[in-house]
Symmetry: D2
């Protein structure tokens, strides 16, 4: 069993034991996920990019736990929507490879994401 499947099963049990599935509609899980993603952004908001590469230990651990929360809600949402997360990521990378050919995209990430 893969690590992701193992986490999915742990989270299923965790939620079932607490009768929390009633709250875990895809709509609500998508909301919870963006809330956690923003909590992950918060400690970075006033830092320079360089400072963000060298977090003090307390902040680093808090960021690690926020990353865990994002992954947890992402796995829960994937479970509810019957999505194979790892396959989805592989498909997206393949599609991005076509969208951003190396010669054209080289060093101009912004051009492709900017308005």
């Amino acid at each position: 069993m893969s690590e992701v499947t193992e986490l999915r099963d742990k989270l299923r049990t965790f939620s079932a034991e607490r009768d929390w599935d009633q709250y875990h509609s895809p709509k609500n899980l998508a909301s919870a996920l963006v809330v956690e993603a923003a909590e992950l952004l918060e400690p970075f908001q006033w830092l320079t990019e360089d400072q963000s590469r060298a977090l003090p230990p307390g902040t680093a651990e808090a960021v690690r736990m926020e990353m865990a929360d994002v992954l947890i809600y992402l796995i829960r949402l994937a479970d509810k929507l019957d999505v194979d997360l790892m396959q989805a990521a592989r498909d997206k990378i393949a599609s991005n490879a076509l969208r951003y050919p190396t010669e054209k995209a080289k060093g101009i990430a912004r051009k492709y994401t900017e308005l």
Copy 2:
């Protein structure tokens, strides 16, 4: 090699080939992650919870691709911050188990997350 490590390596190559590491500071990756999480929320925003459980195929596929984007930036950020994502999630679940004991948390998720 685990699936996550495999994806991490693919993304490293993808970014290196395009000279994109210069943009991928933790601060910027955390911003990109919340942007993708919000794109994932967007198709749900006017739906009822019940509708969110039964997405039309086109929406379901778009949602699957947004989930992939969230995972991709999460793996990139974990790589830059030297975080073992799967271990972080296991640690967070263990900590949540102490924080929300089954008897107390049963069916009252809201009480524990509400202001």
Copy 3:
């Protein structure tokens, strides 16, 4: 002087007195704004739509303060980017009126926002 201009000036003074302008680049203010918007979403995430229409007093006050934070960062960002917020909103409403003609958009908001 309009209420928004008055707030803008109060916030300018507040920031200047604390030497905070150095942190208030448009990029950072846009990050802070999404962080506050997510904090505003948090108390709603597990509620039903009906529950969200009848918040308990403590939650209602917390939500009011999060709305204030969103407005504060929006006004700061508008100040830094030289945007007239009220005019921008009037322009956007005029553009939405063309994009969503009443006969076509009636009762089908979702169709126009969904993927």
Copy 4:
């Protein structure tokens, strides 16, 4: 009548004419607001702070329209929750003045917002 009240009334009419109030629960409006805030962040995500201070005209106009969207949903939410937005901001600024006394907060914004 203040500018905000005028916008609130315009938006009420806009929504009523399209039968959109059925979608505008506080929960849904809070979701829409964070989605728009993230769209506002998107053009900044790969920029340096300096670049964010000097946007090309096309990006600047797109950012202005995203700021309008944030304000529009904020005013709608305030209307639904019976919140006086301007008063809320004034109350929050007063409370922040107590929380961040000028002598202590001078030039160390981060200390007060960091984890």
